[in-house]
Structure formats: structure tokens, C-alpha cells
């Protein structure tokens, strides 16, 4: 089968690779680029662990071919904070115990990122609606909702 050349920018870094068209974006990010912060949970489009931002929109990277992302800007969890300087959403998850095993967390944080861009001051219902596509087997969601609310406040105060 013919391979296709794609060019993507992930967390500000440009990559160019030849890939098989059937390669899923999540496998491209993890296995070809080597960024393993993006997790694979269900592989059936349901759990959201593989969520990344594609041109700013949260998508499940297990349900996209890498070739569809040709030319796109992608943000993965590695692109949010820095060593020793957490992004406010990451800080919220830490402060409010928004994680236990941490498996769902990268996807959860990126879903929350999009949510807070759309609704800087979200209601609880908006938060729950916004993370509907992300399953967590540990926390029971309450702490995640609190983490997102913490992040929303922090982000707003940074802007003010």
C-alpha cells in the first residue's frame, strides 16, 4: 500500500513522516512521535483517554486517521504545562484530587481545556456536559468537576 507523507505540528514542534493511511492518530502520536502522555483506554471511541486538541478542538485520537490530521496543529498533554510549572487545569486536578490512577487524566484535562475556552465561567451542568465523552473508573467525577472549577477560577484571575 502506498504511504502518505504528513506534516503536523505537535505542541509547537513540526513533524514530517511517511505513514500508512490506516495508522490511527493516537498510534502516530505515541509510537511514531513518541509522546506517550496520550493514553489508549477503550480503542472503541467511548472512553476519551486518547483526547487531544486538533486545531483547538477536542477529538478522540483513536477515531481519526493520522492522514486526516495532515497540516494540523495538535496539542497533547505534554504541551500544556512545564516541569515544575503546572497549567492551571493540571494544578486543579492536583489540588482537588481530580485523579487517582491517572489513566483518564490527560484526556480529561484536554476535554476540560476546550470546555474552559468555550465557557470560562462554567456551571456545574456545563462542566459535566463538557466531560461527558471522558470516562473515569476511579474518582466518581465529583473531584474532577471541582478540579475544573478550580482551574476556571484560576484562569479567570490570571486574565483579570
Amino acid at each position: 500500500m502506498t504511504r502518505t507523507t504528513i506534516e503536523v505540528t505537535i505542541n509547537g514542534v513540526r513533524y514530517r513522516h511517511e505513514v500508512e493511511p490506516r495508522l490511527l492518530l493516537v498510534h502516530y502520536i505515541r509510537d511514531v512521535v513518541g509522546l506517550t502522555g496520550t493514553h489508549i483506554g477503550c480503542e472503541t471511541s467511548l472512553c476519551g483517554a486518547c483526547t487531544v486538541l486538533l486545531n483547538g478542538a477536542a477529538v478522540k485520537s483513536c477515531t481519526l486517521f493520522a492522514v486526516q490530521a495532515d497540516g494540523a496543529e495538535i496539542t497533547t498533554i505534554e504541551g500544556l504545562g512545564e516541569e515544575g510549572r503546572l497549567h492551571p487545569i493540571q494544578e486543579g486536578f492536583w489540588m482537588k484530587h481530580g485523579l487517582q490512577c491517572g489513566y483518564c487524566t490527560p484526556g480529561m484535562i484536554l476535554a476540560a481545556y476546550q470546555l474552559l475556552q468555550r465557557y470560562p465561567d462554567p456551571t456545574e451542568a456545563q462542566i459535566r456536559h463538557g466531560i461527558e465523552g471522558n470516562l473515569c473508573r476511579c474518582t466518581g467525577y465529583q473531584h474532577i468537576v471541582e478540579a475544573v472549577r478550580y482551574a476556571a477560577e484560576k484562569l479567570r484571575s490570571q486574565k483579570a
Binding site: M1, T2, T4, E20, P21, R22, L24, E43, T44, S45, L46, G48, T51, L54, A57, A58, V59, K60, T63, L64, F65, V67, Q68, D70, A111, Q114, L115, H129, G130, I131, E132, G133, N134
Partner: protein, 287 residues
Amino acid sequence: MIPAAFEYFRPTSVKEALALLDHYKDEAKLLAGGHSLIPLMKLRLAQPRYVIDLGRVRELEYIRESGDQLLIGAMTRHVAIETSDLLRQRCPLLAETASVIGDAQVRNMGTIGGSLVHADPAADYPAAILALEAEMRVVSSQGERWIRAEDFFVDMLTTSLQPGELLVEIKVPVLPPRTGTAYVKVAQKASGFALCGVAVVLTIDQNGVCQHAAVGITGVAPKAYRARAVEHALRGQKLDASVTAAASAKAAEGIDPLEDLHASAEYRAHLARVWCRRALEQARARV
């Protein structure tokens, strides 16, 4: 969970896409948002040799008003329909329906065209498309034709689209004054798909008499359907709670409901009746 190998094409115009479709015929599959097709390919329930990605056919992504009609390009994403000010004002039913599809990630990728052509019996749009009496414009290298909503859905996962045809546009009417609409849904918990979804368009005159009623129901039968018996029971009647309740009792009349591990046939028929009443009440309150 690894799809079978395929060759990939990324046309940038409808014309180019049609030429590819003509060339590869049955061995080709169109890829829109991929949120029905890719899961099937991962399970190898679909193994197209050629995939034609419509993702860059920008001419198919639009929502605009033309006279008393609203025109929506087939590649318009669910999120664009959910958040469109034009639709919220002129056809809120479609925006409301889009807002409850799957989850935020699914709505960012999935398209109205892909959803309609896939014709999942539990998809949300078909109910609204039927209640709105929408029309679908399809093109092929032979020309174009319009298909009415009721002729579009043929059976489970089957539409009246012919091989070589591409859905390009959905046309819905701007709703007349004194019209209320609603889409309500009982979702299957894990996927979000509808166990039962009811879309209602109601026009009521100053005296409270129903001038027009259209009810589309999805999730219940092998394909979404118009609940004609309900509509007949409403038209010309002064609407109150007892009239809508009596009409809703006919929501599953003449239907052979689906049965699977999520819900029995009897339960689906029950959901259709109960949620039809709720949808009618909500639409009536919004007139």
C-alpha cells in the same frame, strides 16, 4: 482494532470526489467525520480498498439562509449546527438535536451528512429531519436530485442513496410564526445513542388550535419514522394536556419496535409513547 490497509484520497472539491467515486465504485468509501465509519473499519466490519476523505471539501461546510429555506452543507459538523446562531433563531430544533449527539469530541468531528447517510436506527438527526420535512440534495456524475426525508430512510443502515451518489446539502424550512419545536431523548448510557428520541414541530393558532403537527421518532424502530397517527390526532384540535396524552398513546402504532440487550420491544414502544407526550408538551410551551 487495526483497520485493514487502504489507499487514501483527499479531494478538495465535489467534482474531484465524484470522479474518484466513479472510478473506484463499490470498492471505495467516503470518509466524512469518520465517527461511524472508522469504528466499523477498526472492527473490520468495513474494509474499503479506497477511502475518499471529504474532510477538505470546504464547499460542503456551510449553514445559510435562502428565502424561506435554510441550507446546510453535508460536511457541516455537529458542533457547528449546535452553536449556529442562524439555526438557533430560525430552526432551533436542529441545533437542539445536534447538542445532544454523543459527546463534545464526537460533535467536533461528526457531520450531518455522515450521520444521515449512515442511517443508524439510533441516530438523533433522522427524527428532526423527518419532523422538519427536510429535503436532501444528492449529486452524482449523472446530475443531481432531491430526496424527501420520508423517502430517504429505507431501512436499518440503508438510505435511498444509489452507488456513486454523494449527499451534498440538507434543506430545512424556516419555521412559521407560532411554531414550537422540541427534541427529547432517552440515551443509552454508554454510547449516548438514542433508545428513543422524539422530535416535534407544532404550529398553534391564537385560539390554541393545532394547525400543523409533525412528529419524528428515532431509536425505536429499524428506521426513524413519522408518527402519522399522533399527528392526525392533534391536527385541528384545541391542544390541552388530555389531547396530547391521547395522541401520544399512538406513538408506536403500526411499528415493529427493535429489541436488543439495551431495551425490549415493549419497553421501546413504552418510551415512544411517554417521550412523545413530553416532547409535545415542551413544543407546545415554546410556541
